[in-house]
Amino acid sequence: MAAPPIVNPALDNPDPGDAYQALYDTLGDAYWQASDITGKDTIHGLQEEIGKIIDAIDQQQLKDNTDLFIKIGAQVQATNSALKDLQTSINSITKNITTAGKVISAITTVLSLFP
């Protein structure tokens, strides 16, 4: 039976990180528009603070995603294990035919010893 999907609800919801990024980029544009160094200094300081918030959001979201990766990893491993068993089973059929041939060959050898 197919495993239930693993989905982080947060992935489908609006992301606060995107809102902060929009602000960050707006400040970035303002920085390059500012004509004097005092204005640039002020905007740069603000942008750095917003950058720290984005850092924190991104690190938390990557951490949340890590938990989901681990859960999916278990499912992937289970399927890979089943596939390996199947491959072994298929290989054994070929091997059985070869083995049967060898057994027949061995019997033939024994029979030839006692004409």
Partner: protein, 289 residues
């Protein structure tokens, strides 16, 4: 007879393209971590005059080694899965091995009857040595039966595995896409930070040597170009991952006998995005350089 040939070609293509996506996803994490480290170094240089500044202040990785390892493990698992599907669907080598085994069994059977018939006829009067034609017939029968058995098993195995795995593959593709979106946002900060820091240095040190000033301005332009290239690569990764999810669903449907025509189209998309992605990574210098 159950034929796996079309599925063999599709699973092989899927496996190759998946390997490209996996490799580039792993590369994206490494690049993002290095970039984040460089950003923190640039920020530390910019804040040198701040009280309490110390070169021993540790940088914080964007992704810890454990977090990278969790992702790498799943990605490598996905690659192994795609390789296993391709191996199961691959019939050429298996058929060669079967032919060899079946022929050997037939020949050995012929030798057996030739050697044993004189003794056995007293018990089983109808026994006689097998002719070459009969031997060939037995070999063909063994070969044919085994192929039907194996190909049917493989076909059913692929159908079941892809059906079982599809929800996980879709969830995984969504997760990688989510990661890529986060990495793009973080890269925006990790590039803009050093760029504005660099510019602050230029603006606040107008009396520096003109040649040095020119070189520093050149760095701004180089960093901005790397930022664009890095963002384009991550966007390409998102498209490749999306294509991977769709191709897997199409592969599952085809393995279950549904809509085989859609599979080629989905695989073509996956190969295209995977090839473009590989070309991006090969042509663009590492973001952190």
């Amino acid at each position: 007879m159950v034929t796996l040939s079309p599925l063999a070609k599709s699973t092989a293509t899927f496996s190759t393209a998946t390997a490209t996506v996996v490799t580039n996803s792993e590369q994206a994490y490494t690049t993002a971590n290095q970039l984040h480290h460089d950003e923190q170094v640039a920020a530390a240089i910019g804040s040198y005059d701040t009280p309490g500044w110390s070169p021993y202040t540790a940088t914080t990785p964007l992704l810890t080694p454990d977090q990278v390892a969790a992702r790498t493990k799943v990605l490598e698992g996905l690659k192994a899965y795609a390789d296993a599907l391709a191996a199961l669907a691959e019939t050429k080598n298996r058929n060669t091995a079967l032919n060899t085994a079946a022929s050997a069994a037939g020949v050995n059977l012929q030798s057996l009857t030739a050697a044993g018939a004189p003794k056995l006829t007293s018990v089983f009067p109808s026994i006689s040595a097998l002719s070459e034609t009969e031997t060939a017939g037995i070999s063909t029968a063994i070969d044919g039966l085994a192929k039907v058995l194996l190909n049917t098993r493989a076909q059913r195995g692929i159908a079941k595995a892809t059906t079982d795995m599809d929800p996980s593959v879709q969830a995984l593709c969504k997760l990688i896409d989510s990661d890529a979106r986060i990495l793009r946002r973080q890269a925006d900060v990790d590039y803009q930070g050093p760029i504005t820091n660099e510019n602050q240095f230029i603006q606040n040190n107008r009396s520096i040597d003109p040649a040095l000033r020119r070189a520093e301005i050149g760095k701004l332009i180089t960093l901005a170009a790397q930022q664009k290239a890095n963002d384009a690569m991550l966007a390409q990764l998102q498209q490749a991952v999306l294509a991977l999810g769709k191709a897997h669903t199409a592969l599952m449907n085809a393995a279950n006998g549904k809509d085989p025509e859609a599979l080629k189209e989905r695989l073509d998309d996956l190969v295209k995005f995977g090839t473009d992605l590989g070309a991006y990574y090969a042509s663009v210098p590492a973001a952190a350089e």
